[in-house]
């Protein structure tokens, strides 16, 4: 018994080490360069750390203005803490997501143990342990969890807090300790303040929690219920007020799938629910989950889905047994999470979108593990042979994924990330002392954000495409940074004097020109 327990702990420790390695190894280099949202978070985190203000000078704000919308605060404050330790580096920006992505693997283990532990005698403790270990293993190596943990994605941080909230709530149901209840609710509240997609998911989750508590509430013990309800209401007031303001709704307006201005009211009433349905089912699409992902370079590896192909048979078996045991607590809860996960994302376009529906990955991973353990435990040699066969394919596909990630991905998705912007700002900063003015074509719309983070002392003018050197600057030495122009470009010939100094090329295989530096 003791040996078995030690063995379990050893397995768990190996899984956690593997998860940490897969998330931290070269995290500041692959994906190469921070993308624009990461840079925006990083700059706000930096100003919060040093001045206690955001980039617009607001003192410790709850919502951060950025690119015409508002960012949630949790990722920014976490990045501030990370920067206090690691300095103003790319590693510091990605550290919170990588760390919480690793811890997610551990919390998933605890959550699954707690969840299946409530199933009575239907599942043996040995099976529960196996499902929990396998779930954490799947979470450690799944393409989507690795991908999300290696970028500074708010969605990944939110996923951790959501799971933590779920686990603490299950602990409360088991122990009835009020501390667990309040910790759980706090964690759910942190989730909603982390990523926009949870603005609908968390109220539904909290609704379920309170409904469950109310249903099982004893006459003598009503105090925790009402104080918890009051706590949640108070904590959510700022978000509710913000959500109904124009600023709070800006992100929804920007990404909404319901923007057909040519439709009249009745047509909208007829078509919009069906657009929603179409988007909603797209999140359960097998190609999206297992073959090609959502197609965004930042979220997906080429030739891979969000999960491995070899997980599909286990998922089908897991789903089947979940439906067969649909009256159990774990089946109801998994089904609930599975169904609500895309509920916000379906309002937006494009759909499917991995980030906005990241929560869906949790029930899917648990079901895969459940299916795998159930299949293995059937005392049939054929089934065991099938599991072993899938196992061999699994080793190959997992190795294939890492090949694609470490060899192909950096060469393929450079434009999706921002290492070229980093180079642009570094080069411009290096050349700044030699020039009186620096002008940058406004096609480099991200330049101000990158400047803010990498060198806020760099001064430049962001100019329109048809810009000409003004006569007032006739005697000034100007550095003009633009997208690809040839020497024969008639537009550029009209400038007074030009010499091409330098090119910045994409880091991908095409090595095509990202920016050209001209001296005017």
């Amino acid at each position: 018994m003791l040996v078995r327990m030690k063995l379990r702990k050893l397995f768990l420790a190996i899984i956690l080490l593997l998860a940490a390695f897969l998330r931290f190894y070269q995290v500041d280099q692959i994906p190469h360069g921070l993308y624009i949202d990461e840079v925006s978070i990083a700059y706000n985190a930096h100003t919060i750390l040093h001045e206690g203000k955001d980039e617009y000078g607001m003192q410790m704000p709850l919502f951060f203005k950025a690119f015409g919308e508002y960012k949630m605060p949790v990722a920014i404050y976490l990045t501030s803490a990370s920067m206090a330790i690691f300095g103003k580096t790319d590693f510091a920006v990605r550290f919170p997501s990588a760390l919480l992505g690793t811890l997610l693997v551990f919390i998933l283990y605890l959550f699954v143990k707690e969840l299946f532990g409530r199933s009575g005698k239907k599942i043996t403790p040995k099976s529960i342990e196996a499902i929990a270990l396998l779930s954490s293993f799947f979470a450690a190596i799944s393409p989507v969890t690795i991908q999300m943990s290696r970028g500074g994605f708010e969605a990944n941080i939110a996923l951790f807090f959501y799971l933590l909230g779920g686990w603490l709530f299950l602990r409360y149901l088991k122990n009835q300790k009020v501390l667990f209840l309040f910790s759980s609710l706090s964690s759910f509240i942190v989730t909603i303040y982390t990523y926009n997609s949870y603005r609908l998911i968390i109220p539904l989750t909290l609704g379920l929690c309170f409904w469950y508590l109310f249903k099982h509430m004893k006459q003598k013990n009503q105090k925790p219920f009402y104080s918890a309800l009051g706590f949640v209401i108070i904590m959510l007031i700022p978000l509710v007020v913000f959500s109904f303001s124009g600023a709070g709704a800006s992100r929804f307006v920007e990404t909404s799938a319901f923007t057909q201005p040519y439709l009249n009211f009745w047509q909208k009433l007829g078509i919009y629910p069906m657009i929603y349905l179409q988007n909603y089912v797209s999140y359960f699409s097998l190609p999206f989950l297992f073959a090609s992902g959502d197609g965004f370079g930042r979220h997906t590896i080429l030739d891979m889905g969000n999960l491995f192909r070899w997980q599909l048979p286990f998922l089908i078996v897991g789903l089947f047994f979940m439906l067969k045991n649909r009256s159990t607590f774990y089946a109801k809860l998994l089904l609930f999470v599975l169904l609500i996960a895309p509920i916000t994302a379906a309002f937006t376009r494009p759909s499917p979108h991995t980030l906005r529906s990241l929560l869906i990955i949790l029930p899917l991973i648990i079901l895969c593990a459940y299916g795998c353990v159930t299949l293995w435990q059937k005392q049939r040699k054929l089934l065991k042979a099938i599991v072993l066969g899938i196992g061999i394919f699994a080793i190959y596909e997992t190795a294939f994924y890492f090949h694609m990630y470490y060899v192909h991905y950096p060469l393929r998705t450079a434009p999706d990330w921002g290492s070229e912007y980093h180079q642009l700002i570094t080069e411009a900063s290096r050349l700044q002392p030699q020039y009186d003015e620096i002008v940058i074509d406004n096609q480099f719309a991200g330049a101000p954000a990158y400047r803010n983070f990498y060198n806020s002392n760099l001064k430049f003018h962001l100019i329109d495409g048809g810009w000409r050197k003004p006569l007032a600057w006739e005697k000034k030495k100007v550095l003009y940074i633009t997208q690809e122009h040839s020497q024969e470009d008639p537009a550029l010939k009209k400038t007074l004097f030009h010499t091409r100094i330098k090119d910045i090329r994409y880091a991908d295989r095409t090595k095509s020109i990202f920016a050209q530096f001209w001296e005017l």
């Binding site: 069906m274 179409q278 190609p287 073959a291 030739d303 090949h403 060899v407 060469l411």
Partner: protein, 191 residues
């Protein structure tokens, strides 16, 4: 009698949904497997293998593994909920799921066994793109057994508590969907 009438209405609904596929000129390439595409893709992938040992390139970019991945990708397209909704309607897609569940839990008859095999294997007719047959007929070869399968599923569902109501609601949504945003033409462009 009530259930039979319900099945008849579902059948009409499914055929109506499938009728959007009849004027189809070709099914999108993502449903097909061709060795030519595979070859092109492999060549493209191999060019990214810079500073990588040759054995690694051979292990990860070979025709066997590429064909397996391509076949899986094409095959799962046929079980995509969006595809099923656009071919046999929402109620039909739910019927398919119910019947799979029923098939795995109940005693199997020979007919359901044969139908199960057909439903699982017939997508390969389209995947391997037997081009002498017009696309609508080719899709029909896969869809008709699927319609039978889904009708059996709906039959089982209708016998459950509140099953008839669930089917009724699904049918309404199916019709609503087809009338408002049917998108079969996106999967199967017109001539």
């Amino acid at each position: 009698m009530k259930n039979k009438l319900l099945l008849l209405i579902i059948l009409l609904g499914e055929l109506f949904t499938f009728s959007f596929w009849v004027p189809c000129a070709k099914v999108l390439d993502k449903f097909h497997f061709t060795t030519y595409d595979l070859q092109l893709r492999l060549i493209e992938r191999i060019h990214y293998d810079q500073f990588v040992p040759l054995w690694e390139t051979r292990v990860f970019h070979n025709k066997f593994a590429g064909a397996l991945f391509d076949l899986i990708r094409s095959y799962v397209q046929f079980w995509d909920l969006g595809f099923l909704i656009n071919t046999i309607s929402l109620v039909g897609a739910v019927g398919v799921g119910v019947m799979f569940y029923h098939f795995c839990t109940q005693k199997k008859s020979r007919i359901t066994g044969v139908l199960f095999t057909l439903v699982l294997l017939l997508p390969f007719v389209e995947i391997f793109n037997v081009s002498q047959i017009p696309p609508s007929i080719r899709v029909g070869i896969f869809i008709l057994p699927l319609i039978c399968w889904s009708l059996m599923g709906c039959w089982h569902l209708s016998k459950k508590k509140r099953g008839t109501w669930i089917i009724f609601v699904l049918m309404l949504v199916s019709v609503w969907y087809e009338v408002s945003i049917a998108s079969a033409h996106l999967l199967c462009p017109r001539p």
